[in-house]
Structure formats: structure tokens, C-alpha cells
């Protein structure tokens, strides 16, 4: 059984000039102890999806529909206080901005202990011990001293490790990592990804990794969901998706990954021409049609449904070829 099942999720925002249909009809599932990557350009709805799972979006301007079942319970139907029992406890989240995601006036120790105190009834000494263990787990040297320090005394990479420690303090079943390495420099990025992969291997926590970087995906994900304009356009295993992409958007994205080619330091970077559609207007046909090299008139008219085009490979494109499936 899947750990998390999202079905037909719609997350819409009220803005001054219309309703932003940021996520529109997304379905996906996360299995136990797997890493699922959600990939797409900025504004495709991937972060909104993760915030919708934890219900962290501002309630007064947001509305959601569909269902998000976690262990079979629909998170969208829980009360706010039931939801608080899940946040940080069964589902944790780490964010893109390690520099600003920690409270500047509280010690690191206090911020780790807070999560434990919110969800467990343990003594202060146990909490301290746990906090120290967590810092050691995420590879921070001299954890006893670091517990007394404030975020501004730590580097960006260290702070992201602290964020991971906070997220893991209550042994969550699911960790949502929203662009966890984007703000870090390249060497630190690799270390943090390695840490996430390690933790996954050790603790069997499922991870939703949100990123725009297919390089990151290749490194640690098992399966990939490609999002575009608030919708899922393709879903497959990592190998399948990276080697045999079927949606023209995924093909474009892969083209946009900087590759160090055989010719030495020659980098190839193909931009996808055109602009992301305005989500405040209803789109009749395929959301990618205006940028798609293969688009025909019918694409502007009829929105393609998600179809299985190969084993464990789902695509929303009228022209994606079927293969390897019994008729």
C-alpha cells in the first residue's frame, strides 16, 4: 500500500486579478521507503503541492479540493489540531532557504528540542541527548557545543543540516525536501544529497524531493513526477525517464540540463522556447501546447489525459508513442 496518495488535488489561490490555479488535478503516490522526485520549472506547482500536503498555505486565500491520503487518512479532512500532530512528527519538511528558515533568536538546541517536545513526552535530558544525536547523525562536528549556538554562527550548509536534524527528530514516515540544495554551493550540495540518501537507506523514511534540477534527481530519486502548469505531465522510474522521456516537456527539460559533453568542457544548454501559461486563465487544450515543438491544432483543443504509454510510465501527451504494452 502506498504511504501517501494524492488524488485529483486542486490548490487554488485568490489574487487581485483572478484565481491562480496553482495545482490543478494532480494525482501521485509515494511508496514506503522510496524517494519520489517532483520536477518542474519554478511556478509549476511543485512547492505548492508540498505545502498543500502539510496544509501550510495561508487559509484565507487558498482553497483545496481532492484528497491527500496518508496512511489512509485524508489530510485535507483533518482538523487543524490533528494536522499539527502530523506535522514534524509523521511528515516533516525541509525548505529551500537554510539561511532564513531557522529562528535567529533561538539556539539550535532549543529549535531541535521544540520538535521533540511538541510530539513526545520526554524529559529535558532525553531531549538534549536526542538533539545531540540528531546533530551527530547529520554530520555536524562537536554537537554539544553547536546546541548552544545561534543560527547566525553557522554556515549555510550547516544550517541545512540542522534543518534536516529538526525534520528527522521525531522519526517521520515521510520527509518532504523542497529544493534542499538550491541555495547551497556545489560541493555542499553533493554532501547534503549524500546525507539524504544515507538517511533514506538507514531509516527507511520516504522522501518527496522537490527540485528543478534533473542532476539532483538522477543522484537520489527512485521515481520521478514531472509537473507543468500545475499538472502532472509524466511519471516514470528515474532510469526510464532520464533515458527515454516521452513528454515533449520532459525532453525539453533534459535538454536544459547542463551536460559536460565528451568534447571536454563544452556545455550544452537548450532553453525551452516560450512562456509558462497564465494559470489565472482556464486552458482549454494541452497546457504545454503553446511551447511544444510537436503541437498540432488538436492539442489546443483537447487536453490530453494521463495514459500509460509503457510499463510504469505515464504520460499526458496525444503524440507520445506506446511501447511494450500488451494491446
Amino acid at each position: 500500500m502506498a504511504l501517501l496518495e494524492i488524488e485529483n488535488l486542486q490548490t487554488h489561490f485568490r489574487t487581485s486579478d483572478g484565481i491562480n490555479r496553482a495545482v490543478d488535478g494532480l494525482s501521485l503516490e509515494v511508496r514506503p521507503s522510496e524517494t519520489l522526485a517532483i520536477v518542474g520549472e519554478s511556478g509549476c506547482g511543485k512547492s505548492v503541492t508540498s505545502m498543500s500536503i502539510l496544509r501550510l498555505l495561508p487559509e484565507n486565500i487558498t482553497k483545496t479540493a481532492g484528497s491527500i491520503r496518508f496512511h489512509g487518512r485524508d489530510l485535507l479532512k483533518l482538523t487543524e489540531s490533528e494536522m499539527r500532530g502530523i506535522r514534524g512528527n509523521e511528515i516533516s519538511m525541509i525548505f529551500q532557504e537554510p539561511m532564513t528558515s531557522l529562528n535567529p533568536v533561538l539556539t539550535i538546541g532549543r529549535q531541535i528540542r521544540e520538535t521533540i517536545a511538541l510530539h513526545r513526552t520526554v524529559s529535558r535530558a532525553e531531549m538534549d541527548g536526542r538533539a545531540k544525536d540528531m546533530l551527530a547523525l547529520v554530520g555536524i562536528p562537536d554537537p554539544a557545543r553547536r546546541l548552544q549556538e545561534y543560527p547566525h554562527q553557522l554556515s549555510g550548509g550547516m544550517r541545512q543540516r540542522v534543518m534536516i536534524a529538526i525534520a528527522l527528530a521525531c522519526d517521520p514516515k515521510l520527509l518532504i525536501a523542497d529544493e534542499p540544495t538550491t541555495a547551497l554551493d556545489v560541493t555542499i550540495q553533493a554532501q547534503v544529497l549524500e546525507l539524504l540518501a544515507d538517511i533514506q537507506a538507514k531509516s527507511k523514511t520516504s522522501i518527496i524531493l522537490i527540485t528543478h534540477d534533473l542532476g539532483v534527481v538522477a543522484e537520489i530519486a527512485h521515481r520521478v513526477v514531472v509537473m507543468y502548469a500545475g499538472r502532472k505531465v509524466e511519471e516514470a522510474s528515474v532510469e526510464d525517464l532520464l533515458t527515454r522521456p516521452r513528454h515533449p516537456y520532459t525532453v525539453g527539460l533534459l535538454g536544459a540540463v547542463p551536460k559536460i559533453g565528451v568534447g571536454g568542457d563544452k556545455m550544452r544548454l537548450v532553453e525551452i522556447p516560450g512562456l509558462v501559461p497564465n494559470l489565472k486563465q482556464r486552458i482549454a487544450g494541452c497546457v504545454f501546447a503553446n511551447r511544444c515543438p510537436k503541437a498540432r491544432d488538436l492539442c489546443l483543443e483537447f487536453a490530453p489525459a494521463l495514459e500509460q504509454k509503457a510499463p510504469a510510465h505515464v504520460v499526458a501527451c496525444h503524440f507520445a508513442e506506446k511501447e511494450g504494452l500488451a494491446a
Binding site: 486542486q10 488535478g25 482553497k63 495514459e307
Partner: protein, 301 residues
């Protein structure tokens, strides 16, 4: 066009709308609806200005005319707001008093803003002048503003002009500080630096690039100064150190009514309501302007 089923296409079901958009109203009414308090404030101010301007034609009598036989009367058909200890008609005095309050508020706002802006821009733009100017401004700001105004009017012959000057002096440093801050942040911006490096004269740079960017915060600040100046004027008059007693101002009327406060509260209460409503109106307009002109400032102030 051929139905999609015939082409063998799998078509996604359209998704429902889960939220309805209500487009904002446009035009003057829309603006008023979005800024209800500011609109109320503006209407009140227009009415009060009208009262001040047309006081002689609004059924008033000479606000200074004494009638010893009609002292301290309660409101009646003859004297709508009653009379004070000297038998003067409070309705007439309050209407004429609007002139003093509004004029002082407006004059202080203009004067303090103009001088403060000039000082602040100089400090922000001329590096060597910055420190001495700002130390002086700090010193003036260290003297609580009502106290400074009190001390200044105590030095001079009481007159409306001196009251305006005294209140303005206390407000100038606040404007200067605001403007200096704005100029300092602007001069770091690329286009101002570019203008300086291409050899535009200082005056030109200030006029072209800095002045337009400072107008919004200055207008907002000026409204708040106007409101506070009206309060300070009334306060000074009330303790007997402000507008000369021969000129009816709201503060003076209240000062005259102090002695009878417990038995004839209306003498103090009526001008008090006028004053409070006027200041409230100016503040509501100020808040509305702040929200409309500078969304970033709206968050911080």
C-alpha cells in the same frame, strides 16, 4: 472538427472551479469602497474645511461678542451650543475655531515638511554635512516635542505664527531623518550612481532622481504631522501658552470652559469633539494615503 473519440485520443476531463473570482470595482466608487476609512476621513475634512471657510455665513454671530446676561447657558434654539462664561456664543466660536486648527495643522505640515526635506536631502547627499546636521537633529529630537514647543512659545509673544513655528521646529528632525534615509538608500541605486558618474550636477540628480522617489513617503509623513500639529496647538492653547486668547481656537474654548467643567461640561466637550473628529479624519486620510502610495511602508508603519 472531428470529435476526439474518433481520432482515438484520450481527453482529460475538465476540472471544476473551486473558487470564484470577484473582480475589484473600478473608478471612484471602487476606490472609495476599498478605502472606507480614508474616504470617510476625506469627506469629513472637506466638510470641516467648508465650515472653516464659510463660518461667517453659517448662522454665526461675532465670536468675540460678550453678553454678560447670557453667561454659561446650555444649548438652546438661540445658542445651539450654548454660551461660555462670558456669554459668548459657543457655536460661533467653534466654527471660527476650525479656522485656527486647520490652518495651524496645514501650515505646520507644509513648513516642517519643506524645511525638514531640504535638511534631510542635504544630509543624505552632502557627505561632510551629514554628521553635524544629524547630530543637531538628534539633539532637537531628544527634547520631547510638546516640551520644546512649549519652551519656544514661552520665549515669544503669543501669536498664531509663533505657535506654528514652535510646533514646526519640533517636527523638522523627523522629516529630515526620513528623507535622509530615503536619499541614502536611493543614492546606492544603480541609476543614481550612473547619473552621478556621468557628471550630472548634484542639483540635477536630486531633482530628477531623488525628489520623485521621496514624494510618497513625504506626503504621508506630512499628513501625520498635520494631525499631531493640531493636537499640539490645542494642547498649548489649553494650558494657556498657545494661540492668543483673543482668537477663538478649540484649545482656547476648552481652556475657558475648564473652570465650569463639572457643571457645564458641554463648553469643553463640544470643541473637544470637533478637535478629535478633525484629527481622526486627518489620520484616516494619512493611513489611506500610506496604503495607497507605498505598500512597503504600509507594512512597517
Amino acid at each position: 472538427m472531428t470529435p476526439p473519440a474518433l481520432l482515438g485520443l484520450a481527453v482529460a476531463d475538465p476540472l471544476p472551479d473551486i473558487m470564484q473570482h470577484t473582480p475589484p470595482r473600478r473608478g471612484l466608487m471602487g476606490l472609495a469602497r476599498r478605502n472606507v476609512p480614508a474616504s470617510i476621513g476625506a469627506v469629513l475634512l472637506i466638510v470641516l474645511t467648508g465650515i472653516a471657510l464659510f463660518a461667517p455665513w453659517l448662522g454665526t454671530v461675532d465670536p468675540l461678542a460678550i453678553s454678560p446676561t447670557l453667561r454659561a447657558r446650555v444649548p438652546s434654539a438661540e445658542h445651539w451650543f450654548g454660551t461660555d462664561m462670558l456669554g459668548r456664543d459657543i457655536y460661533s466660536r467653534v466654527l471660527y475655531g476650525a479656522r485656527v486648527s486647520l490652518f495651524v495643522g496645514f501650515a505646520v505640515a507644509v513648513l516642517a515638511t519643506a524645511i525638514g526635506a531640504a535638511i534631510g536631502m542635504t544630509a543624505g547627499y552632502v557627505r561632510w554635512a551629514d554628521s553635524p546636521i544629524m547630530r543637531l537633529m538628534d539633539a532637537i529630537m531628544s527634547i520631547p516635542s510638546i516640551l520644546l514647543a512649549i519652551a519656544l512659545v514661552a520665549l515669544t509673544r503669543p501669536s498664531v505664527g509663533n505657535v506654528i513655528l514652535a510646533i514646526a521646529v519640533a517636527e523638522i528632525p523627523r522629516v529630515a531623518r526620513l528623507l535622509r534615509g530615503v536619499v541614502l538608500s536611493l543614492r546606492e541605486l544603480a541609476y543614481v550612481e550612473a547619473a552621478v558618474s556621468t557628471g550630472s550636477s548634484s542639483a540635477k540628480v536630486i531633482w530628477r532622481h531623488i525628489v520623485p522617489n521621496t514624494i510618497a513617503p513625504v506626503i504621508v509623513q506630512a499628513t501625520y504631522i498635520c494631525a499631531s500639529a493640531m493636537i499640539v496647538e490645542a494642547t498649548l492653547s489649553f494650558i494657556g501658552a498657545g494661540t492668543p486668547a483673543s482668537i477663538p481656537s478649540w484649545g482656547n474654548i476648552m481652556a475657558d470652559g475648564r473652570a465650569l467643567w463639572q457643571v457645564k461640561p458641554h463648553i469643553v466637550l463640544i470643541p473637544a469633539v470637533f478637535l478629535s473628529v478633525t484629527v481622526l479624519a486627518v489620520n484616516m486620510v494619512g493611513d489611506g494615503l500610506r496604503d495607497a502610495l507605498d505598500p512597503r511602508m504600509a507594512k512597517t508603519v
